[in-house]
Assembly symmetry: C2
Homo-oligomer: 237 residues x 2
DNA sequence: ATATATAACTTGTATATACAAGTTATATAT
DNA sequence: ATATATAACTTGTATATACAAGTTATATAT
């Protein structure tokens, strides 16, 4: 009924999602039918359907009565929003690359941190790093990450140019993001932000403050500044 | 098993949601238990649970094992995001009021409309109106609505200062929003936008282009400009 | 080769039933 | 009045079963 302590509907959800993210089930393909998955996972249809409902809700698949479940193309995401090109000529928005502006380093929290911290979190201190994300060589996001310094071994020594921070946490440390929140504003670019994003100073920039809640005693905070002249954020509901 | 043509899990979802929105179940209160609702709606637990799962997913309730389902306070929403004050001293963000800048009027589509239109939609033309939304007298959103002119009787004669456009569609015309999408950018305020929002020209403004898909052959488009110096948009995932 | 009817698949909706795990109310002992 | 154990509630997880409604594959007739 469960695998270890994980309920089967969660096991099914995670497995299918992982297969989608790793292109085992590519975008636009049909997932195995519900009956096939019952055999695969050795559970019954209501359990499979619970997992599929959540996958559909999270945007990974779309279900059609009588036809099957179609895998949706994975978009680059920023919290609840995905990044989309002003011109769709890029296909899947071109390749997203990352430059590390400031490598991960242990330091005290900034004085006026954007989210309230618990006393425990304050006492741990934080690890911070700065990244620039580019699509086709054009900088579109400048972000500053802070995570609680709960003494994750060798975290600061790892390379993040080619690996997602969150997939590193998941794969190397078995730390999963459970949920999160984002605050969104528009600000005029400061000199520093303008320099990183290669836009004129005072140009309008999206400012996103996000907090991710994980399966361990670890919150990950991100402050992202996005240039939206050639790319925008997209949400559906 | 269904009510008219509506499956019971949807009837349950709509009824509970309506009761929450109309304060029959106020924020922070306990919903009736699943067993009580089975009796109320004359269905079984899986059907109730399907509706509750969706209510929780949409942010209306939060469920606690062994305890019950707590109604969440309703926030003013803009698509998938809610409006939150920079200072939470406002409680539920103060009162949101609406001024109609331009009353609903039938007119041709703008030449360079933000979303692609079908030939059918183009031939119908549109109804458009402009609104200003204020919190505690401070303008925060200037929005321009276009909806396809499918000949909704007396639509242009109705008052929208005190009524939601979407609740008017739902209650007077039985037209429900099914889903939608939003594109989000930051722009520098033009002279017109600055005037409406009472901010300096060229100040950074959130620009949201939204399309709502309804139960009838009607799409509703909204172009919103948001001042985020005292309020910001919030999303959770 | 083509059209049509039907079989066989798919997802959608729903009831019935059972037990696990968490919280709250109540009974009892002191 | 207080502490503790237990009963009674809640939501969480899951199997079993059946039929509805939509799509696709196949069989058959021409």
């Amino acid at each position: 009924m469960t695998e270890g302590n994980t309920p089967m509907h969660r096991v099914v959800y995670k497995t299918i999602r992982k297969n989608i993210e790793e292109n085992v089930y590519p975008g636009d393909s049909l997932l195995p039918s519900e009956n096939e998955m019952c055999a695969l996972f050795e559970v019954t249809r209501p359990t499979i359907r619970q997992a599929l409902t959540r996958l559909e809700n999270d945007g990974f698949i779309k279900r059609y009565q009588g036809k099957g479940s179609i895998v949706q193309k994975v978009h680059h995401r920023l919290g609840i929003l995905s990044i989309k090109g002003v011109s769709q000529v890029l296909g899947t928005q071109g390749s997203l690359t990352t430059q590390i502006i400031k490598k991960p380093v242990v330091e005290p929290w900034p004085d006026d941190f954007m989210f309230d911290l618990t006393p425990e979190e304050k006492s741990y201190g934080c690890i911070s790093m700065k990244r620039l994300r580019l699509i086709n060589g054009k900088p579109i996001i400048f972000d500053i990450v802070h995570l609680v310094n709960i003494d994750i071994p060798r975290f600061c020594q790892k390379k993040y140019e080619k690996r997602s921070l969150f997939s590193t946490l998941k794969n190397d440390y078995n730390i999963d993001v459970i949920n999160g929140e984002q605050n969104i504003r528009a600000i005029n670019a400061t000199k520093e932000i303008a320099k990183h994003l290669k836009v004129p100073e005072r140009q309008a920039i999206l400012h996103l403050e996000g907090a991710h809640y994980t399966s361990k005693n670890l919150r990950v905070f991100s402050e992202a500044f996005c240039s939206t002249d050639r790319f925008y954020l997209h949400g559906s509901f």
